[in-house]
């Protein structure tokens, strides 16, 4: 059947058709929907793991047990899971195992734009790169065949435009190949004596895969008989941009497998064209391979390493005509993302800013606490880094720093990799204050459950980790819970914990305002007779509040009545109920 399908959903469909039985993932844009869509198939066991490393290890266990398995993550997630991946390359698999990694060139929702192909090369595992939804489905299925045929985990590389674009796919039936588990110490116990025997097998496998790459249907030459001036080697979404610009009027070597790369196929293609250009986003990986073959080629001398590609970029850099465009003479105000109305993080960040705290942040919606007017966060690095960083920071700058420096980390990020950092604070005893922003969900990626929420990926009841008990078990004597809508409470507890000369944890607890089960208060309005236009309420950066004719005004379509602004107003001008409005 033909249907329009999101790239990530097409991967999920491929998993279903390939007979996958087990999926464990940690959410991360742009990979999240793969696991969410796969969870809609009753035949597949599907879960959120606390982090990517645990997810990959769990998927490996399922493969060992003889069931086809899968895990998905964003590019930076693969760094977390790199440890198991690099040695799974040595052990190989039992049933097929595929690992999806979604790159985010252009950083739509990421902290860097690293190129995951480096991981495929370094871990010595094959990597497939679909260029649209149809290929996403087909390559996913083929990846499992390759995994079993070559006894290796296979990386499936997505990118934002393939993951989050819908295109037409043809669906098929599900077939489930099962294998039995067999004890095999030499293959699966990677102590030096065994690993030394496995490494030559890894090298041999890469040679076999390189031979497969020469004739694989994944890599195809699309020759244009009427034009031998230019030949383009490309992969992934860049292929679509090349075709968009040139139509059928250029010869293309389209690579669906980007590790290992073919050699003879490239030589053969290069001989057919006068000028050879590689069009690839991010790093020059295909280009460098072509250069090692001694073939003259253009690539990053023309195209940028930085940012996302597009058809206009390809057209411009390869000397093609660009469409005309119009612009208004006046500048259009930017519209950056903001914390939502009623976001529970707002009250806490206001309190931190008011107390002139140095805030070392983490990965999540609350990174928006760095944006003006809150301007409260001073560091964002990677998942869990806030706690490691506050420890080192306070150890070096001593008591004076510890009196005003805090780490802030979300509930999901804390479960992902904040716990180990907290163990370090407890163990090596820095006088640090760690604030867990518990909004009872993984917010940024679109509301996924995690080990603290009490529900699993399918929304069914699950184990629930008690954050307070966990912190106490680590040895924290000072564990406080505050409601971030209560500014007075936030302020007094923060002051007490900063003053305490021992490590402490503050849990700022209130569910994300966008959660369906959260009941909102009626919207507030401003009583124009009371408002003196002092702008105290403007310090929290609430998208519902603006100034009009010298008075504050509430957008009643956005306001959820959280009441944080009420606590800032010196004249009690924010009121509920009907009445005249400013």
């Amino acid at each position: 059947m033909k249907e329009l399908m999101l790239g990530n959903k097409a991967v999920a469909r491929g998993l279903y058709e390939a007979g996958v039985c087990f999926i464990s993932s940690y959410p991360g844009t742009p990979s999240t929907e793969i696991s969410e869509e796969a969870a809609k198939y009753d035949e597949i066991y599907c879960e959120w793991a606390p982090n990517e490393k645990v997810a990959m290890e769990s998927a490996f266990g399922a493969s060992l047990a003889g069931r086809r398995s899968f895990c998905a993550q964003k590019h930076v997630g693969l760094n977390v899971a790199a440890d198991p991946l690099y040695t799974m390359s040595y052990t190989g698999v039992n049933a097929g195992m595929v690992v999806a990694v979604a790159d985010d060139a252009g950083m739509h929702s990421s902290q860097n734009e690293q190129d995951s192909r480096h991981h495929a090369i370094a871990a010595k595992v094959p990597m497939l790169e679909p260029s649209d939804s149809r290929e996403a489905l087909e390559f996913t299925k083929l990846a499992f065949e390759l995994s079993e045929r070559f006894d290796t985990p296979v990386l499936l590389k997505m990118c934002t435009r393939v993951a989050h674009s819908q295109s037409v796919v043809e669906t098929g039936e599900r077939q489930v190949p099962l294998k039995a588990y067999e004890k095999n110490i030499a293959k699966y116990v990677m102590m030096p004596g065994n690993a030394k025997k496995r490494h030559p097998l890894v090298e041999k496998r890469m040679e076999d895969l390189a031979r497969y790459a020469e004739t694989s249907p994944l890599n195809r030459m699309e020759l244009c008989e009427s034009n031998d001036e230019l030949g383009i080697i490309t992969a992934s979404t860049s292929y679509q941009y090349v075709r968009e610009v040139f139509g059928d009027n250029v010869s293309v070597l389209k690579l669906g497998m980007t590790n290992p790369l073919p050699t003879e196929l490239i030589r053969n293609f290069a001989q057919k064209v006068k000028r050879l250009v590689v069009v690839e986003e991010l790093d020059p990986i295909i280009e460098n391979h072509v250069r090692t073959l001694g073939i003259p080629v253009s690539g990053k001398d023309i195209f940028p390493i930085v940012g996302e590609f597009s058809q206009n970029l390809v057209a411009r850099l390869l000397g093609q005509e660009l469409p005309v465009e119009k612009e208004l003479p006046e500048s259009i105000p930017v519209r950056p993302p903001v914390m939502c109305s009623g976001c529970p993080h707002r009250g806490l960040f206001y309190t931190l800013r008011k107390n002139n705290c140095t805030v070392l942040g983490d990965i999540g919606c609350y990174t928006l606490g760095a944006v003006q007017p809150l301007g409260a966060i001073e560091l964002t690095l990677c998942m869990g880094a806030s706690i490691g960083a506050v420890h080192g920071f306070n150890k070096m700058l001593g008591e004076e720093a510890a009196r005003k420096t805090v780490a802030v980390i979300g509930d999901s990020t804390f479960m992902h990799s904040g716990m180990t950092g907290l163990a370090n604070v407890a163990y090596n005893q820095s006088d640090s204050t760690v604030i867990i922003l518990d909004n009872s969900i993984t917010g940024m990626t679109g509301h996924q459950q995690n080990p603290t929420t009490g529900f699993n990926l399918r929304g069914d009841p699950a184990g629930k980790i008690d954050l307070e008990a966990l912190c106490r078990a680590m040895g924290f004597k000072r564990v406080r819970v505050v409601d971030p809508y209560d500014l007075k409470q936030c302020d007094s507890v923060l002051k007490e914990e900063l003053a305490a000369s021992e490590p402490s944890v503050i849990i700022s607890r209130r569910p994300c305002a966008l959660l369906k089960y959260v009941k909102h208060n009626p919207p507030l309005r401003v009583d124009p007779d009371k408002c003196i236009g002092c702008k105290s309420c403007m310090r929290i950066g609430c998208p519902s509040i603006s100034m009009k004719d010298g008075k504050a005004r509430v957008d009643s379509t956005q306001c959820v009545g959280c009441g944080v602004c009420q606590q800032l107003c010196p004249k009690d001008a924010f009121v509920s109920g009907e009445g005249k409005e400013a």
Partner: protein
Amino acid sequence: METKNIMIVGVGGQGSLLASKLLGHLFLSAGYDVKVSEVHGMSQRGGSVVTYVRYGDKVYSPVIERGEADFIVSFELLEAARWLPNLRDGGQIVTNTQQIDPMPVITGQVSYPEGLVEKLRAAGVKVDALDCVGLAREAGSVKAVNIVLLGRLSNYFDMPKEQWLASLEANVPPKFLEMNRKAFFLGREGH
């Protein structure tokens, strides 16, 4: 047929996903190749969001670039102006007249530009502007802004309205169908 390009622009959380889903369904059932590209994650949080819908005999790129859009369908006036460079020469803007202040306007750093519809027209752009919030409310729900806009957009296509209604029926829950049909016709015929 050459590929046609429709951009749907607005503010994160305004519900442009249903509009693109409906258009995707419409063009696919009319026998075209279709690609739809969305934005997820960080940029959704109240930021400027854009969805691309492309259809034709064979569609390659999932994105619409500067100077390429045949239509810009805008949920918010400032966003229509922001994405103007993506409109092709002679392209059409269909926009809601609603204004939502972005944070730099809220904090008073800059002001919301005035008279944008007139300024766009003065720049030689074809603009079809209507109060979609008012019409959606008239239909029964302010959430139907997207369907009001699509109703308006349908005027610019040769496809019979029955085809649009069939895609509407396939993409909204039955209990909201009547309200959405009303929204569609208010957009199509309203002023």
